[in-house]
């Protein structure tokens, strides 16, 4: 990603996951092969990375902060 202001690789992956797993062109119907494992992979990746809040807790303060730190 160009000119990105992210601080860690994991947060980058989290942001990518938010997009590539949830958004983008979703084709419905028979033309797309259904891969049973993929839903499990989604779940696995999501659990692995959980959420922004978990990331924040685990990694200290990876975000660009402004003012005082929330407590």
């Amino acid at each position: 990603m160009n000119n990105v202001m992210l601080k860690s690789k994991d947060v980058t992956l989290l942001e990518i996951l938010d997009r590539v797993l949830e958004k983008g062109v979703v084709i419905s119907g028979d033309v797309v092969i259904s891969v049973a494992d993929v839903d499990l992979v989604y779940l696995g990746l999501k659990v692995l990375l959980s959420s922004v809040e978990t990331m924040e807790r685990l990694r200290g303060a990876p975000f660009a902060g402004a003012g005082e730190e929330p407590t």
Partner: protein
Amino acid sequence: MKIYAYGVIDSNCRIEDSSKGIEGGRIYNIPYRDIGIAVSDLDGRYQKNINPDHVLEHERVAEKLMESFAVLPMRFFTIFKDKEEILSMMSEYYDSFNENLNRLRGKLEFGLKVIWSGDVIKKRIAENNAGKGQSKLLSNGSPARNYIMEKFEKYKMNRQFEKEGHRDISAIDEFFSGFAVEKKLDTLKSDKLLLTASYLVEKAKQDDFKQAFERLKKSGPDGLKYLFSGPWPPYNFINLTKPEFKKA
């Protein structure tokens, strides 16, 4: 051999870039009328090997495409049986793809997540409310009345919490008004996550947009943390209409 799709692009020409995609497959374009879809071939092993690296590869290809074309990135792991299936899909969705490509051409997506101390704010609101006669009402009322009052107090506190949240969200969003052509704001998803925003920005205005973020960091609402990311392909701004069933 299956076909993995990365994104629909506004070109029916050959992709000159020699970069590789998922499992090292060469990226190529399958043209349909005046548009195309960037793909790579995939063998049968993929089902056992899906991992975060594949996600990164998918995104890397989408970003590479974004440098040369208007691109509608596919959702991760969109796989087709063969070229005929892809052409059939392109034919069905052509009008919608075209509309989206025209709307999104020359534009980029930026993301912003904002973390706040929602739990601390909730605590402060509860403490303030406790000092405003709530306890008196509760001690004098019947159990039913107390129950209703308790519910009402909770409702008021939630309202106050949301009001404070939306006040900060408006202040944040204000920094970007004028630089984004479209936006999507997902608000108060949890006590900590105040805002998940996606902004669609013209390429020519991306530096202005980044400067707006710098200003937000310096003079935005107090006590917030920001995660700013981009530029991304416009994942959040694809409005695909499912094609109507075509009679044979």
